[in-house]
Symmetry: C2
Subunit: 636 residues, 2 copies
Amino acid sequence: MSFELELKRIRDEIVQNLPPEITVTKIEFEGPEIAVYSESEDVAAIETSSTLKDLAKVMRKRVVFRWNVDKRKDPAETKDYIMNLISKDAEIGEITFDHTRGEVIIESGKPGLVIGKKGINLKEIRTNTFWQPKTIRTPPLPSRTIQLIRGMLKKERQTQKDILLEIGKRIHRPALFNNLNIRMNALGGFREVGRSCILMQTRDSNVLLDVGLNVGNPNDRFPYFFVPQFSIRDLDAVIISHSHLDHCGVVPFLYKYGYRGPIYCTLPTRNLSTMLQLDFIQICDKEGTPSPYSKRDVKNAVLHTIPLSWGKVTDIAPDIKLTLHNSGHILGSSMIHLHFGKGDYNFVYTGDFKYQKTRLLEKATVKFPRVEGLLIEATYGGPQDRIPSRQESEKELKQILNSTLKRGGKVLIPVLAVGRAQELLIVLEEYISSGFIDKVPVYIDGLISEATAIHTANPDFLSSDLREKILHQGKNPFLSDFFETVSSQDERADIIGGGPCIILATSGMLIGGPSVHYLKALAEDSKNTLIFVSYQVSGTLGSRIIRGFREFNYIDWKGRTQLVKIGLKVFTLEGFSGHSSRSQISQFLRRIQPRPKVVIVNHGEESKCVSLSTMIHKKLRKSTKSPKNLEVVLLK
Amino acid sequence: MSFELELKRIRDEIVQNLPPEITVTKIEFEGPEIAVYSESEDVAAIETSSTLKDLAKVMRKRVVFRWNVDKRKDPAETKDYIMNLISKDAEIGEITFDHTRGEVIIESGKPGLVIGKKGINLKEIRTNTFWQPKTIRTPPLPSRTIQLIRGMLKKERQTQKDILLEIGKRIHRPALFNNLNIRMNALGGFREVGRSCILMQTRDSNVLLDVGLNVGNPNDRFPYFFVPQFSIRDLDAVIISHSHLDHCGVVPFLYKYGYRGPIYCTLPTRNLSTMLQLDFIQICDKEGTPSPYSKRDVKNAVLHTIPLSWGKVTDIAPDIKLTLHNSGHILGSSMIHLHFGKGDYNFVYTGDFKYQKTRLLEKATVKFPRVEGLLIEATYGGPQDRIPSRQESEKELKQILNSTLKRGGKVLIPVLAVGRAQELLIVLEEYISSGFIDKVPVYIDGLISEATAIHTANPDFLSSDLREKILHQGKNPFLSDFFETVSSQDERADIIGGGPCIILATSGMLIGGPSVHYLKALAEDSKNTLIFVSYQVSGTLGSRIIRGFREFNYIDWKGRTQLVKIGLKVFTLEGFSGHSSRSQISQFLRRIQPRPKVVIVNHGEESKCVSLSTMIHKKLRKSTKSPKNLEVVLLK
């Protein structure tokens, strides 16, 4: 088999580029990485020298070093060594061993202290134990999801290693064609919001960007998988831009139907996606509709996920390299950069992106090594979509909160569990601690707490200010005791019967969950207030209320339908949106480097896609397209 | 199998709609037609009554009646009966019997006389022999191709019947989907001239429009068959607009690789395509390049062809009906009208079309029952493509011929064997017989004579004037004795060494064949003249000379290369073109009824497609697209 020839070629190249004292005993393709096994003690020194970097540059591949099994120190002794080496302040939790990859995984409250200045501790561990140390963070708020994932990966290390070896073989097969004929197949999320799915196809390879669920239309939930050019069997990779269900909600379904290839995304995207997918199964169960996949499929998806950090170039197919970049939308959300062939073509898919710094995140990246084709979202791409500034919206929020609380009302803010919820928590923590608003309880209901816990486990992906506050000033706004997590019907009844308060509850578009329950209870009293802070997909109750409807049918837990009249005040504060406004999109397009030759528009209602596309063509003088679902665009 | 349910349903419907005295013994799906077998003598009467028409209207299917085998008269007796019935003037040739379909096929010089006034003779034959009579014409000029095809079909009647039954089953399977998702896949001939190929795809069906060869680039000859959405196995039908190789040249290749479905086209298109495909194999052999298919594959294509006349609505898939209409480009050339679903969508592909009456043909049709989407050719769609009027070009031709002949020169006109050649023959016949030019020999070399013979076999497809002349005034310009057919090297040497003359020779783009041989011999003498009368595809010698090159390499039969300088006069007379000029395209678009919602442009150099598309958008205010090869457009 031809990947073996490639393995031999790479082995020879590595041996040539290493100092002669280092013996190479084995080389494996471990997914996209090359794992080099050795018995030489000097390898530990290499890791911190420039040799490894030089090697990666020469090879244009990611290389990791491992020691042979017999070289590695006894695990118990290694554990003792590490506990002695690292200061108590690091709050070391569990230390576990991955024998299949020769890694020791150190969980701690403060991974920075485990690593040490310039990685001095890791070097010590390597040199003295011949294990590769890997650090993970104990979330300051406990997360069931992270616990579940870490537990599962611990149990399934051999399975995961086998999966990586299989994936490695496939990635490193030889490319057969010179003329790539790169095609972008619109399978979902074009001229609509929902079920985002793009099939990138060359003569050699097939890659899916996002595999989302149609949130607004449960009768037509899936991307257009039926097209004959899509075949699960031929799929090389799935890349997920971020964890919202309209981008990742159908991923486990692929495993149900036989996909066994990799998923690439950031670590927080993996964690948040898993949380939301498991929640989706529960919602289906509750509603009595069959879920399109089971927990086993979600588990399979996790086992096949290869987490990537931003900026790392990774081989994902014989003719495609992938790099993820910050997109500023939610925790871990990424723009997807694909490099095709040998410099033939570069393509960027923005996913959902925010070209503005928020409290939670840095603004989206605009610098890329090369870009010829750009696929950009148009959620707020319409000419009416002038989102008020962040400052204005914060000011308005303050006023709305104050006047509602002053008149003894309650404020309900429906939020997506991931993204707006955390942004608002930071804002509310500041308002209350600075005395801008009264000190009332902030209730958090639905998946929000769990999502927030996952945020606390991944501070590396937060904005630099927030990271600085959390990691170095020890001020974590998410841990504030203004916040109270709600989880039972009794607690909800108390809140509804109680005094003025602020309630953040899912679902964010009022399609089910506690937010609808609260709305029903609070709707008729005009003292109360409902605030929308995020995009409402067409077809949802949220979108109906925004368009002026002032009553809705509520189905209680006994299945009885009640007509509820809406008397409370309704506000929409678009300034908190995680999407770029039309002018932010335009700014992004003026600043992106280098300039793409063609801009393709997706992820927006039909009229917005067409209007944004026209604007880009006329004002920015770029070639544009706004394809329909099922259409195919030739890139090169 | 479910086509059997459909068969039963149709049988019941037919029996219900027939007079009770007619017994139905068997019903078969014979390709797209329903063949009804009976033993009732009264069927003969039904054929000429309105019952059959009413039935076809009710059924929305084409119905033919047949008698049971035991009912039919003895063939020898039937033959005698026919010979006695029909007048000698009909010039009856062979009379043969198709026992598989109960048809008697009567070849004659004057089929009109066989048919009789209002079909009286056919009715007599039916009533007295219980055979279905079918007439075919003996070409006044003998055609090897027609002889070959008719001989083969005679031998293979059982095979052809079996093929039709298989096709019938496939056409009459039930449609599975309501939502068709009609997609137009550009597989060749988009933003280029050559290898025209369009895959029309619904959720149920797959149909190819044209399967052409890239004439200008022998290194990249085929349409983009590699795309995963194309699968020979899933193909329901191939429809051929006309017989030029850039539209039909790859059809036999499909049979080589396992296609066993039908080809739909007009009868002259079948005959001319077969001629050109067999010639292409010969050219490949001569050039020592392997032909992509063999004679066996061409034969297979003929056996699977279902000839259609213009205006007949035909079921070709569970959700697609086909109708062909005159496109005015060459003999038998058609626009392809597809009706999808139950009135969901109507699509017209113009193919190559001429929106102007010529001597040979009527102008292209503009009236359709419905059209939502239109695919139109852009060969002369550029802003510079102001084709001079036909009158001007004829005047110029007269002047050029006269001045060349007067100075003792020879005129070489490279022509495609099919189309321009016949148009010019008619013009030259008129010029000489009216004394507009000197009476010099007109030499015809290459496939032209054979193509002309096929024209004489199909007068029904010619312009009404010409048909009138040939059929009723007995004046067939193609039979003029001004014309001399050339077939040997000796004859060519005589012509080259001889006096003033006019030479029509293939290939029309000087990519090989006798035209290049003549050019080499006549090139240096400035007394001679070279006239281009048709479109020169980029990459051909013809196109190089038009762009100003005045020398070329000639490879003689010994394989030696010679540099030939061009001293003769070169003229281009675009008024004879079989394509619509930009203004004719524009007129066509203003007059087409009803108005399509979207106009898609193909079959033109990149700049012409884009420019025509822009013009249609700006001046005619229509939604337009000019897709690239490999792109897919969603129609509905």
